[in-house]
Amino acid sequence: MSELVRNIRKSNINISKLAKEYGILIALVVLVILSSIVSPVFFTEANMLNILRQVSINGILAVGMTFVMIGGGFDLSVGSTLSLAGVIVIGMQRNYPVGVAIIAALLVGLLVGVLNGTVMAVIKGDNGDAFMITFGTQSLIAAMALLYTGGATLRGSGSASFNFIGKGFVGPIPMPVFIFLILVGISHFVLTKTKFGRGVYSLGGNYEASRLSGINVKFIKAVTYTIAGLCAAIAAMVINSRTMGASPIQGVMYEFDAITAVVVGGTSLTGGEGSMIKTLIGVLILGTISNVMNIFGFSVQDQYIVKGLIILIAVLLDTKK
């Protein structure tokens, strides 16, 4: 009898631990179930694909942001990096083949990330510094995008191969979603199964201790920002191949949406813990709620209010752990 009680007690502890770890996933599942009940259009293939397609851009940004935030930093410049990469990929297609334009844009994203990463690594910046420094680079990069186009919106590319990125399909899956999910997969693998990934967690958890135990903290920190910059450029490819034009201010405020998705998913703002799966869930939750609000005809202003409340509730639930 006491053996049985002991076993039950053991399994009870595991249940509550599971709830804490996967609470946000449970919330998503409940949300999807409720939405399906309340609206017949929700759980259709068309709508599901719609949600995925809409979240993929923010999702790609959030993948990069997750690396930075687990590492204990912040990147406010991804929005303007997206703008710059976007105008470059469209602008360059006038004189260069698509492949060159894409490589150039990705390189730009990479370089911005390297810039951020190098500054942060050299000064051994903390959270607060990351905030201000990436805000500074945000202004700089946004200015560069505006300078490149002279403020105008660029008209686009007629290139079919380029537009495949935004409009094509891989089987039934839209290309943007495919790219997003592949990035999530690769990133999750890197974070959980590679030495680098473990280094990111370590660095975010305790910078000094990591440094003292021989981890190359400066390099890892720099790489996380580089990844964020690259993701911003990839996201730009997706957007601009759909819109077939590029505006130098297209990415304004996008970084806040990315940070929101990461935070809602459960990754801590102070770093050291979190996961790509959590970010994926965060992205899906935000996307689902947006979608449901659209189905029910919520006005744009109400959607802002709900979005703000969600951030609060998600973090509140997280803090109660």
Partner: protein
């Protein structure tokens, strides 16, 4: 003697930068050192300057408030809308009260619910932007009140009213921070929350109150902005939060809290103000101005952080 001067110069490098910029501008443009231009600089600084006073208190207390821009826009909008219904002074009072209530809510969430201030004020920024959109249905609202317009654009002895409000705010904030127990406790709370708590300071109360002050300042700033523009609009002051934090940081107050002063913020505001004004006078392309401000911010924060962490003697 020289060592003392050198030490102070490095400590007060932003003051040196300010003086150098000021002197450089005198040589670079004949229009700079005119009464008109200097008054103009002050006027441009005043709206964000008021908001910066609130932000300074928040940062000294160890947090910051990203929602100040939305609160400013909302306050301006509320003033313009209520003005025609209940009169200008009641409208202004209502807007300020609503701003303070927002501050109380933010403060309670950060201080008592223990949610990170970045998250609380980020969601507040989004929520109150939504509210602002709702009250005006997405369209800016014109003010037809001449007194209101006079408040924003009129002058007394050649100096515009907003500049007076700005200076009054600076003085009040400075007195509050340096001469009152309230201020000392905010420094303590921001410097080391746990130690402050152990010494018996009601840290939760003080942490909450910095948000009230920040929103109060944002409200006043927003009302003046609407007065100057003659219109209330939901997307006014969208960049206020980051611009103001930049001014505080450039002035030398650290984001980690527990130190700083509103005089430093005034310095930061002045540097940004002269920079903007100077670049305009020199006809520098606006996008270059943006790039330059970004580079300067990175340079200031990077060198400051590097000094703090790597050169312990200074």
């Amino acid at each position: 003697m020289i060592a003392i001067i050198r030490k102070n110069l490095i400590k007060e490098k932003m003051l040196v930068v300010f003086i150098l910029m000021f002197v450089a501008m005198i040589f670079l443009s004949p229009f700079f050192l005119t009464v008109d231009n200097l008054v103009n600089i002050l006027l441009q600084m005043s709206v964000y300057g008021i908001i910066a006073c609130g932000m300074t208190v928040a940062i000294i207390g160890g947090d910051f408030d990203l929602s100040v821009g939305s609160v400013a826009a909302l306050s301006g909008l509320i003033t313009v809308i209520l003005d025609v219904k209940i009169g200008l002074v009641p409208a202004i009072i209502s807007a300020v009260v609503i701003g303070c209530i927002i501050g109380v809510v933010n403060g309670l969430l950060v201080s008592f619910a223990k949610i990170n201030s970045f998250v609380v004020t980020l969601s507040a920024m989004v929520i109150y932007y939504g509210f602002a959109l709702k009250v005006c249905n997405g369209n800016p609202i014109q003010s037809t009140n001449d007194v209101f317009s006079e408040l924003g654009n009129g002058t007394l002895l050649g100096i515009p009213y907003p500049v007076y409000v700005f200076f009054i705010f600076i003085i009040i904030t400075h007195i509050m921070l340096t001469k009152m127990k309230f201020g000392r406790n905010i420094f303590a709370t921001g410097g080391n929350y746990d130690v402050a708590k152990l010494t018996g300071i009601k840290v939760r109360l003080y942490k909450a109150s910095i948000f009230v002050f920040a929103s109060f300042a944002a409200s006043v700033g927003g009302i003046l902005l609407a007065a100057r523009l003659g219109t209330g609009a939901p997307n006014q002051a969208q960049d206020a939060a980051m611009t103001v934090v930049s001014a505080v940081v450039i002035g030398g107050t650290s984001l980690s809290g527990g130190q700083g002063s509103v005089i430093r913020t005034l310095l930061g505001l002045s540097i940004l103000g002269i920079l903007t004004n100077g670049l305009n006078l020199l006809n520098v392309y606006p996008y270059f101005q943006m790039a330059l401000k970004g580079i300067i911010l990175v340079a200031v924060v990077a060198t400051d952080s590097y000094y703090k962490k790597n050169l312990k003697r200074v």
